[in-house]
Amino acid sequence: MGIIDVQNLNKTYANKLVLNNLSLSLGSGQIVGLLGPNGCGKSTLIKILAGVISDYDGNVFIDGQTPGIYTKSIVSYLPEKTYLSKWMRPVDAVAYFSDFYADFDKVKAMDMIQQFRLDPMQPTKNMSKGMQEKLQLSLVMSRRSKVLILDEPLGGVDPATRSAILDMILRNYLEESILIMATHLVQDVERIFNYAILLGYGELILAGETDDIRREYGKSLDEIFREVFACSISL
């Protein structure tokens, strides 16, 4: 049994099937890319794993438990939309996380904030989108969590910020944990994944070790992604 096990997961919104009989098993010690176009069910799956959505059909186990109080204590989750209050400065956010999470490493968070060259005293309302992403990433990556889930951490940031974020993920990811990153940007990002899950309209299209996929198809994940979704976009 993996750290994350999903069996026959189904989720509907207003009679629309968003996740269709999805099954997955993932072990620790990996950086997993959850890839798919907007609206393919990535965020829904992530919210179920994070314990934010609880009305679904099928089985979901994280470290052997169904999503709830225990799993929330071992899952660090970066949502797609910001959750920091506008007045908060990095120092306030660090204090807040430190009060809230027993597994939060304050020193690591301040260190990441410094490495990102953020001003610890600047309110988030005065920060660019990229700076806010950097701050939130510093916070969620500073929990000693068994499971780290990042929902589109690269959305709307420039290429230099993107590569700073990827670099920081590689530097700070805990080897004994699993990091799952949802993204619709595949190019320039695919090298940090050792495992990829390609999700299309609620269904699992492809899952496997990234280098095995490259060998089998003779293509990059980005090319496979574009080919799979080229036709569906024009529908």
Binding site: I31, E175, R191, I192, N194
Partner: protein, 125 residues
């Protein structure tokens, strides 16, 4: 994220190539310890498991060895490193000759051009 890998073929094989070139160029010297997996992953902007896979294969081929407690080291077998260099050189030369044949050069013309270019670049050494 500076390194230019080709995403259409396995990254770990490309890493093996890069690391072998480091051995041959003596940037990684015989008997020396190599940097930890995490450091290499950050340097090349790739997944740590991918680096691990490359190093494991190099270990199986006898190019690296692990000291239980202190990390990974480069083989002290200089002769072996030279053989690896010769194999890689063979591959490049084979490729080069095929390209020249495709341009319609024969052996004499190729040798003459090679000598000429060598002189241009390095004199008579």
């Amino acid at each position: 994220m500076a390194y230019d890998f080709n995403d259409t073929s396995p990254i770990y094989l490309q890493l093996i190539q890069v690391f072998c070139e480091k051995l041959i160029a003596r940037q990684w010297k015989a008997g020396e310890k190599i940097p930890p997996v995490r450091e290499l992953a950050v340097e090349y902007g790739v997944n740590p498991n991918t680096v691990q896979r490359a190093l494991t294969q190099m270990e199986q081929e006898g190019l690296l060895y692990t000291q239980r407690t202190s990390g990974r080291y480069i083989t002290e077998d200089e002769e072996y490193i030279r053989r690896v260099r010769d194999n890689i050189a063979d591959d490049y030369i084979g490729e080069f000759i095929n390209k020249m044949l495709a341009l319609g050069l024969n052996k004499e013309e190729l040798e003459e051009k090679l000598t000429q270019k060598w002189r241009e670049l390095h004199g008579n050494h």
